[in-house]
């Protein structure tokens, strides 16, 4: 199912990576942020929301990454270049990520910054929408969010253009040993 997801997600311009361990994923993310010019200033900083991935990670080891913040506010999110959050599920047949987004922070970091980095446990891959609907119900979540690729439009002359009101890049990072986060 991972391969199917990857094909579908890349088909809608998402970038898909997979790591066996949290350590591998963390290295990749730090490297990515640095390559993309993270800095402690507006339009360059990154916000990382609380999520199971961060459990057990000593944030001191990340203190050297200038501009990486774990505090989420609307103003910081509006100025952020990167938003990092964990999505719970991935739907293989459409390349879709899904999250209980009841907490506003989850939406701020995935909708306002230009680049959204989404961590996903590989075990969270489901075949399709009906499989999801049996696992995630509005009774448990006031705001169920599904994300399929970056923000897009074709409203001017039907020319596909990436990045309107939401992120212009969606970087998906699967982690095999993220465990039974779901």
């Amino acid at each position: 199912m991972y391969e199917q997801f990857k094909t579908r997600a890349e088909g809608v311009s998402a970038e898909v990576y997979r790591f066996g361990t949290k350590a591998g994923a963390l290295d990749f993310i730090v490297g990515f942020l640095e390559r993309e010019g993270i800095a402690d200033e507006p339009q360059a900083h990154a916000l990382w929301t609380e999520c199971p991935f961060l459990d057990g990670i000593d944030r001191q080891t990340l203190a050297g990454v200038a501009g990486l913040k774990f505090e989420i506010t609307r103003d910081l999110a509006a100025d952020a270049r990167f938003g990092i959050s964990q999505m719970q599920w991935a739907l293989a047949d459409t390349g879709t990520l899904v999250q209980d987004s009841t907490a506003i922070d989850q939406r701020l970091v995935s909708s306002l910054p230009a680049i959204h980095i989404a961590l996903v446990p590989t075990s969270g891959i489901l075949p399709d929408m009906p499989a999801l609907l049996t696992r995630l119900h509005p009774a448990q979540s006031g705001y169920i969010a599904m994300i399929t690729g970056p923000s897009r439009t074709a409203d001017i002359e039907r020319v596909l253009t990436i990045g309107v009101h939401g992120p212009e890049r969606l970087v998906i990072v699967f982690v095999d040993d993220l465990g039974g986060a779901n």
Partner: protein, 711 residues
Amino acid sequence: MGTEFKESIHKAVNDANLTGALGKFSEAYKVNRAKAYEGIDFEELRGRIAELKSYAASHLDLLSDLFEQNATARGAKVFRTSDPVKVREYILTVAQENGVKTVVKSKSMATEEIHLNPYLEKAGISVGETDLGEWIIQLAGQTPSHMVMPAIHMTKEEVSDLFSKEVNERLTSDIPRLVKVARDRLRPMFLKADMGISGGNIACAETGSIVLMTNEGNARLVTSLPRIHVALVGIEKLVEKYADIAPILKALPRSATAQLLTSYVSIITGPTPNDDGSMKDLHIILMDNRRSEMAADPKFKQALQCIRCASCLNVCPVYRLVGGHVFGKVYTGGIGTILTAWFDELKKSEDIQGLCIQCGACKDVCPGRIDIPELIMEIRRRLVQEQGVPMLQRAIYSVVNNRKLFHGMLRAASIAGKPFTSGKFVRHLPMFLADLTDGRSLPAIAAEPFRDRFKGIKQPECTEKAAFYAGCLIDFAYPEQGEAVVSVLNKAGIRVIFPEEQTCCGAPARYNGAYETAAGNAINNIRALLAEDVRYVVSACPTCTVALEHEFINTFESLGQTEWIPKARELAAKTVDFSTLAKRLVDEGRLTLKEGQQLGRVTYHDSCHLKRTLKVSEQPRELLRKAGYELAEMFECDMCCGMGGSYSLKLPEISGPILQRKLKNIKETGAPVVAMDCPGCVMQIRGGLDQDGAAVQVRHTAELLAEQLKE
């Protein structure tokens, strides 16, 4: 048709930007849609959607109660009303009570329906559309021309002019740059807005949730950043169960934009926290505005199965020529015609219902399985019922309903038409065929109609009998097509009888809403065709076949004339179109063709009624191959030729360009012959090619087959 309306059509078809953009879009759409549905059983999927939406339409009150109960339990404030005025007042009150100065909106057709923006603006509230297309038309002071792509009629140059004014900077027409400008311009509006207004793609009663689908991500911001969220939902968006949203999420993006899923889907249930720790003030408005009345109407109830994908616009040969604005200010295209007749008023649909050429392309792709052409016919019928038939048409129908007089006039026309005949074509015909424009020559009325020629045909002794229903065109314009049918059937051992009392099939009257006339035609034909016991009633005109097989029954049902229905069913059971019967006879080994013929290339045009109502498309192709032709398929082989019976007389400015596109596709195959199964299409396409001067022969499949019968 009103002058203003005619002018809007004229303006649209002469807008090269518009027709160019829409033409290219509709061509690409067809391919992309097919790709998006790969591996999916569309009939099964739309069967499920039709079923669950139909259930919802039958239980609007129940589901509205359930929705209100469940949404309220989660903390949402639910307001229900049937009155659009009350919706506007409610939203304004919420805004004023909360000191709202700025509103951001994500795309909502329901707010267009109630003209919300000008109302709020008049009260001093600033309203910003955030969907890129909606923002463009808001800046331009226009209305949406498409339900999914509101600004599809505009060029990037026009957009860059608008944006340049807005940001006070001369912009180029570079699209990614224009999109960036929109992002930068709208972002502060999102952040400062006090209220977000959205629509709802689905409302789920069981959970009290609304589902929003967008690609740009604006709905996520509209529902997350402002402290108040108002969702305006038409009650036709209700579904019963949470699981019901899955088939709609599967079909809507595929049908709307050929995507597997929109970039964003949000399922919102009750208020969620704002970023300052307070809870969202969530208002959900369930709006009726005549939807319940629609649900109570046995014919129109099915229109509530619409999921607003706009695929009926995307495949419509008329929409792609005239665009949305000709249809009106809110809902456009096929389903838009129906929604306008209800949500606005029947009278408003008077002109636009006439745009439908009844080709059935929309019915084929509708994910809600709505018979849009049939509903537009019903609007026509009701308009005629309310207003009566126009004088000129009434005069024509009184003639059509009097077979002797009608046929007498057609015979007279064969003589009267003579002076204008050039070869096989005349430039002008008398009577109702007189008002014709350029682009197509019309056939001369045959000197000797089929009914007279038939008497001279020597038929062999046969064991089986079939009645031939000629229809007006074969009888009086193309008798040779009738002779071809007789020789093919004779070859297979079927004797053909021609009931003299047969008359017009009633399609012209029916397609103009004059059902009483059509019913009169039906009765005369039933009497004539069932008078003698035959195995088949054969027609070589798909429009006539559809009349005999389906519409007689439907016309009686619509008028509540049950008396003739059993006879109509008896006739329907015997009726068969020429190619279906011929193919069957070949398969049974009763009809043998010359062997080893190499007749070269032929291209085949699918007639609307044959392909989409009778579901016949492979049979004529296989017959042609068996006869020795090589099939060279044309682009858009099943796209309407623009004939549509009297449509080509009433709206020549639309019919003409549709024909030209068809001719181009025919010529591009390089085939010297184009075959088809409909004498109406023969008339349209042969006339077009005659004026065009292209050396392509236009033949009825029956004629081509009759030439290849084994000696």
